[in-house]
């Protein structure tokens, strides 16, 4: 019995070390902000079609979580964040290669919902009952939305109307189900909605630009596959896919 258990343990260890060592050439680990999921899936698929030797392992999540994983040694060759804050954070810790930091795309903030009330601009928001917004401490979209309502001078009128969600997609879900009159989300999320209508676009003057920076991590800086892919992400094909999903290029 004990003999058998020992054998099983050794086998488990062997399997574990094997899987740990299988990260071989041609395999690229991507850590990408969740809002870029559809874009990166499409781009990596068409890249593999012309470069069959490259295999992608994709990790989608909130930028902060991804940065934390990279900081703690998680495997990542390319990092695309949904704000500059987390890219700067990793850059300050010398975990990304500074010379490879580029802007992948921009996004814009909109207000979307299923309400029948008249909502043509940000000035109409105090007339609504419930407004979905990403939690400003942890969700960049919520931070931008807070900046916008503060700058528009309506923050105090909205204090008890804001429903804070854990991410943009949850905001969108609340809007779709009609639990809130409308939600602040990115234009790219609003385009994925089935029921809610895009009610207005938040004027860019009211909030800082939504930037998606990308960079190679330290250990991937000399990896030719990684370099080739980040070049591809700045090319024509990437631009047309980004536009298709509602991202802004300039």
């Amino acid at each position: 019995m004990i003999q058998a258990m020992k054998k099983v343990t050794i086998l488990c260890f062997a399997l574990l070390t094997m899987t740990a060592l299988t990260a071989k050439a041609g395999e690229l680990n991507l850590s990408v902000a969740a809002s870029l999921k559809e874009v990166i899936n499409e781009l990596s698929a068409s890249y593999t079609a012309t470069h069959p030797g490259t295999v992608f392992l994709k990790n989608f999540g909130p930028s902060g979580t991804l940065a934390g994983q990279i900081e703690n040694g998680g495997p990542a060759d390319l990092f695309i964040a949904a704000n500059t804050e987390w890219m700067d954070y990793l850059n300050n810790k010398k975990l990304v290669e500074a010379s490879t930091i580029k802007t992948f795309a921009y996004n814009s903030l909109v207000f979307t919902g299923t309400t029948n009330k008249k909502v043509q601009s940000i000035k109409y928001l105090p007339k609504l009952d419930k407004i979905g917004i990403g939690s400003p401490k942890s969700v960049p979209a919520g931070e931008y939305a807070t900046a916008a309502i503060t700058k528009a001078g309506i923050a105090s009128q909205l204090t008890n109307k804001l429903v804070m969600a854990k991410d943009v997609r949850e905001c969108l879900m609340y809007a779709e189900l009609g639990e809130v009159d409308g939600s602040f989300v990115y234009k790219t999320d609003a385009l994925l909605a089935k029921k809610s209508k895009l009610l207005f676009t938040v004027p860019q003057a009211l909030y800082p630009r939504v930037v998606y920076p990308m960079a190679l991590t330290n250990k991937a800086a000399q990896n030719s596959d990684a370099k080739a892919f980040i070049a591809y992400l700045q090319g024509k094909e990437a631009k047309s896919v980004l536009t298709k999903y509602g991202f802004i290029l300039k």
């Binding site: 940065a67 804050e85 987390w86 401490k137 942890s138 429903v163 804070m164 639990e179």
Partner: protein, 228 residues
């Protein structure tokens, strides 16, 4: 230790939600455990599976179901709206989430307590003329107190940690629906928040250890008193 007034509210809110969820579930938990142990029912397996389902379902799934049920278009939500009760995005929604997620733990413990009761005591009371509710409240209830207490403290502890279902139906509104786990989630996703996150983690560990210690101590005490 760094803490904002909102964090203090989050701590109180967590305790309030966990206590309310446990208190709300106790009578139902006791009734369901009694049905499962002492009654022969058709389709008992179905009841058993239903009761235990929240233990294995991802809390996010439970949260989403509850949102559909208690939301504007759900039948329970419509019913409550007629009575003027608003549930979604309030602390009451957090209570419902915790109650559903912790319910199986409560029932399992009470059940274990009831199963250890000597059946002959119950049968004897009935043969001596006690009605079913007489023997329920004078024999079964006192003899399963240990299980009830163990279940309630476990459920309380589980409720303190509820995250997945809560964040969906109660949202993450500081000062109103933000409990300790939700506040930690907020801090942990920002580079500047790690000190604040750790302070709240510490509070969370202290409360959990205290509840579990109480659970062990009172469990032993009750055992001693029933052994005598």
């Amino acid at each position: 230790m760094q803490m904002t007034p909102e964090d203090i509210t989050a701590i109180w809110l967590s305790l309030k939600v966990a206590l309310s969820a446990t208190a709300l579930s106790l009578p139902f938990g006791f009734a369901v455990a009694w049905l499962l142990v002492f009654k022969t029912l058709r389709g008992k397996v179905v009841l058993e599976v239903l009761v235990n389902l929240p233990l294995t379902l991802p809390p996010v799934v439970i949260g989403y179901f509850l949102l559909l049920l208690f939301g504007k278009n759900g039948w329970a939500g419509k019913l409550l709206a007629e009575w003027g009760i608003e549930l979604i995005f309030t602390w009451k929604a957090a209570v419902i989430a915790s109650a559903v997620v912790g319910f199986p733990l409560l029932v399992r413990s009470i059940r274990l307590g009831m199963e250890s009761i000597d059946r002959q005591l119950v049968d004897a009371s009935r043969s001596l003329g006690a009605s079913w509710h007489d023997s329920l409240f004078t024999i079964i209830l006192p003899l399963s107190l240990r299980g009830i207490f163990a279940g309630a403290s476990l459920m309380f502890a589980r409720s303190l940690g509820e995250f997945g279902a809560t964040i969906i139906i109660a949202g993450n509104i500081p000062g109103r629906t933000q409990t300790i786990p939700l506040a930690i989630y907020d801090y942990a996703s920002s580079p500047s928040g790690s000190a604040m996150a750790l302070s709240l983690c510490l509070v969370s560990v202290i409360i959990s250890v205290a509840v579990l210690l109480l659970h062990e101590m009172l469990g032993k005490q009750l055992q001693r008193s029933t052994d005598q």
